[in-house]
């Protein structure tokens, strides 16, 4: 008896139809249509190859709209250039010898507070967060942690829509107009530096006036990811980022690796020499993410902090007072 699979195509057995096998329709006489059907069936089988990659459609859609995918995010401007026309490569150097987690001034870390105020960051976002890390031999140190602005950014690689992207200046930005909120970048970031607008973020009155740009991320948008943007708009205009300006101990340097220069607002240092002579390291360097944020080892000793005096004041957000009914959540 005819078996569908694996039989050699000897044909003989297949052509003999025993009684009752399969459906018999009275219209079998129409030979011509039968061949037509056969064609249809053949095409169904062989055409599976052609039918299955229906997902090629997205690619075709993309080609049709080719301009759109490549166009820059709204509000991003051409990169900052050195005087001889080279693209600036923004960097941050954080001198842990001078960071005491603002124990000295009493109160929450100023860098975080200034960032929250400047970027109108919703609660509980701390784009630059001061972690307290235990030292291997006892005691602790404070580590201000902005986005590491990786040169091999795990978050960029996984983004399905290119909403997070690297700029020519070497920073990583997020276009909240494009982000679909899948949060795979948050799973991918090994530094816990990405924050999600779980609810409707508070939009203070001044934020409504802002022209949205991925370079400052104001106003925030529900259901999208945010993070430290390295303040490229301010740097281009010659102003230091909020966190650098606010540090009472001048622990944070911002600069340009292309011109090999960095400043904390008071001293100007040659970046590479400064890094080399002070044994700079990068956080989780072994992951190969190539961060643009460097640390100089220390635990606040330059500003008189005792490694065995733990604790810092909790970060505060002003939004519930400023914006009526502002929505907050926990991390």
């Amino acid at each position: 008896m005819d078996r569908l699979n694996g039989d050699p195509p000897d044909g003989r057995a297949r052509d003999v139809l025993p009684d009752g096998a399969l459906t018999v329709e009275p219209s079998t006489g129409r030979r011509g249509t039968a061949i037509g059907r056969r064609r249809v069936l053949h095409m169904l089988g062989l055409g599976a190859l052609a039918v299955s990659p229906i997902p090629v459609v997205p690619e075709l859609m993309r080609i049709a709209q080719s301009g759109r995918a490549a166009e820059p995010a709204r509000g991003t401007r051409p990169p900052a250039l050195t005087q001889d026309g080279r693209i600036r490569q923004w960097t941050m150097i954080i001198d842990l010898r001078s960071c005491d987690g603002c124990q000295g001034v009493g109160g929450p870390p100023r860098c975080t507070a200034a960032c929250i105020q400047g970027h109108l960051a919703p609660e509980p976002m701390e784009w630059i967060q001061v972690f307290e890390e235990e030292l291997p031999g006892g005691g602790s140190r404070f580590v201000p942690t902005p986005c590491m602005q990786c040169q091999n950014p795990p978050c960029n690689n996984v983004c399905p829509v290119g909403a997070t992207f690297s700029t020519p200046e070497g920073t990583v930005l997020i276009d909240q107009d494009r982000c679909i909120g899948c949060r795979i970048c948050m799973a991918a970031c090994p530094y816990d530096r990405r924050f999600f607008n779980w609810g409707e973020p508070p939009v203070p009155p001044q934020a409504r006036l802002a022209d949205y740009s991925a370079e400052h991320q104001v106003p925030a948008r529900k259901g999208t990811v945010m993070k430290c943007d390295f303040c490229p708009d301010m740097a281009r205009a010659g102003t230091l980022p909020y966190c650098v300006q606010a540090c009472p101990n001048r622990a944070i340097y911002y600069g340009d690796l292309e011109e090999d220069i960095a400043t904390n607002g008071r001293a100007v240092v040659p970046a590479s020499r400064f890094l080399a002579e002070n044994n700079a390291f990068r956080w989780k360097d072994e992951l190969g993410t190539e961060p643009r944020v460097y640390y100089l080892p220390g635990h606040g000793e330059a500003v008189g902090r005792d490694a065995f005096s733990p604790g810092r004041a909790a970060t505060e957000w002003p939004w519930t007072e400023i914006v009526e009914g502002a929505e907050t959540w926990s991390r």
């Binding site: 297949r14 997205p58 829509v161």
Partner: protein
């Protein structure tokens, strides 16, 4: 002995029965399922209004129940196509009464699974960005590609072998059913009349499809695992992940198939065709895959546990000793060891035992997906206290709605389409009675079940 024609008529009547008669209990079931789906939709409307803040997810555990359920559904979608294709390729004859159900589970599970990804999005209104701005670098785009390909492929693979049965429905039901239905069967049967030419074409089409669908199915769950494995998270950092997920997918797929088979067998009185043999053979397959899963777990956990790289210590403690220990031990003992024990004991090597094993496996595999997603994200990356995650009522409601949708679609399907592959069962029967064709060597069957 009854004649072939009588046997055949009875088979056709069994296949047609669900379409001809609908009991009150059926409508009651549909109403209940619709109510649960409606409740899920209500919960989702709240999430749409307020945002993902209504879930238990937060920045540190940023994926939870939705993504776990997505992985689970994509897993059980392997019930169908992969199992029926593999069994077809290996020419296991006992498969014939089972394949149609399996193939339909695939299509329905894919639809449900894909919707859970959209439910998880913070901005579902921008889902088309995936097509407008999609980048091939992203594992999510690999998933979109693989899942849509698989969905297209499995719809074709469901449809093509169903053509002769649709023709049967067309011939038997015309004039005895609504005009819309008659039109549906006439259209879908695409002029099938069962002549030799058509049958050869059908055989060719199925032959191509069943080979084609296997690599697609394997690729689907591989790329699902890569969503996790492509990140810098210790618990997910494993080259084994793709194979591990594929094995788990087939494993849970077999379990769901057994459960659906048992329900349909009872409701539609398929006892003559879906017999203990099918259950016990699928039970053996289940036990075999349980063994593969045990192997995969050992190699996965031992490699992490032996070296105890940063984070691995925390991870293994949360799995075996702390927060997730009850779930994880249930998965290991109930979901992996359990089915093997049930199939080893002769007293439970029957339909009841196999169904019990399948229920255990289904629950355990959902738990496994949940544990993989949540524990993977929970290992702290920076000096902070580990976060906690507890799904909210919104998440549970949407999960219930999703499961009800799965059951509902299968329930409705049984009223429209032939749930048994009539022509394949008939061929199988004829092949069993008739002496084997000299040109085709006898296909090695599974060993007869002891005590079965």
């Amino acid at each position: 002995m009854e004649s072939m024609i009588q046997w055949r008529t009875r088979l056709e009547e069994t296949a047609l029965a669900p379409v001809r008669r609908t009991s009150k209990r059926y409508w009651a079931l549909v109403a209940v399922l619709l109510a649960v789906v409606g409740w899920g939709l209500y919960a989702y409307s709240i999430q749409l209004r307020d945002g993902l803040i209504v879930t238990g997810m937060r920045d540190r555990i940023s994926w939870g129940l939705y993504i776990a359920t997505f992985v689970f559904f994509i897993g059980i979608s392997h019930a169908g196509t992969l199992i029926s294709a593999i069994l077809r390729v290996s020419q296991a004859r006992w498969r014939t009464p089972v394949t149609r159900i399996a193939e339909f589970i695939t299509v329905v599970a894919l639809i449900c699974g894909a919707s859970f990804v959209i439910i998880d999005l913070g901005r579902p209104d921008r889902v088309l960005n995936v097509f407008i701005y999609g980048r091939w670098q992203s594992p999510i785009i690999w998933d979109v590609l693989a899942i849509t390909t698989y969905l297209t492929g499995s719809i074709v693979y469901l449809f093509v072998p169903m053509i002769p049965d649709l023709a049967l429905f067309r011939d038997r039901l015309t004039g005895r059913t609504s005009r819309g239905r008659a039109w549906l069967y006439r259209t879908l049967a695409i002029g099938w009349n069962g002549n030799a030419v058509q049958r050869r074409s059908l055989a060719a089409a199925i032959g191509i499809l069943m080979i084609l669908i296997i690599p697609i199915a394997v690729s689907v769950h591989t790329v699902v695992s890569w969503i996790f494995a492509m990140t810098l998270r210790v618990p997910w950092d494993s080259a084994l992940f793709g194979a591990f997920f594929v094995a788990g997918a087939i494993f849970s797929g077999i379990a769901i198939l057994i459960i659906v088979m048992a329900i349909l067998r009872r409701s539609y009185k398929l006892h003559e065709y879906v017999t203990e043999k099918q259950f016990v053979y699928l039970g053996y397959l289940l036990a075999a895959f349980a063994a593969i899963m045990i192997y995969a777990n050992i190699s996965e956990l031992l490699i992490h546990g032996y070296k105890l790289e940063e984070g691995a210590d925390f991870h293994l403690r949360q799995l075996f000793l702390n927060d997730f220990a009850p779930l994880f031990w249930f998965y290991l003992l109930g979901g992996l060891v359990g089915p093997i024990v049930l199939m080893l004991i002769p007293a439970t090597r029957n339909i009841g035992g196999v169904v019990a094993a399948a229920v255990l496996v289904t629950v355990a595999m959902w738990i496994e997906r949940y544990v993989i997603v949540v524990t993977g994200l929970r290992v702290p990356l920076m000096p902070y206290e580990p976060a906690d995650y507890a799904p909210t009522w919104v998440e549970w409601s949407i999960l219930a709605g999703g499961l009800a949708l799965f059951a509902l679609l299968i329930t409705l399907f049984t009223k429209v389409f032939p749930i048994i592959a009539v022509w394949e069962v008939a061929e199988d029967q004829e092949a069993t009675i008739a002496p084997p064709h000299p040109a085709s060597p006898a296909v090695p069957e599974f060993p007869a079940p002891v005590g079965g």
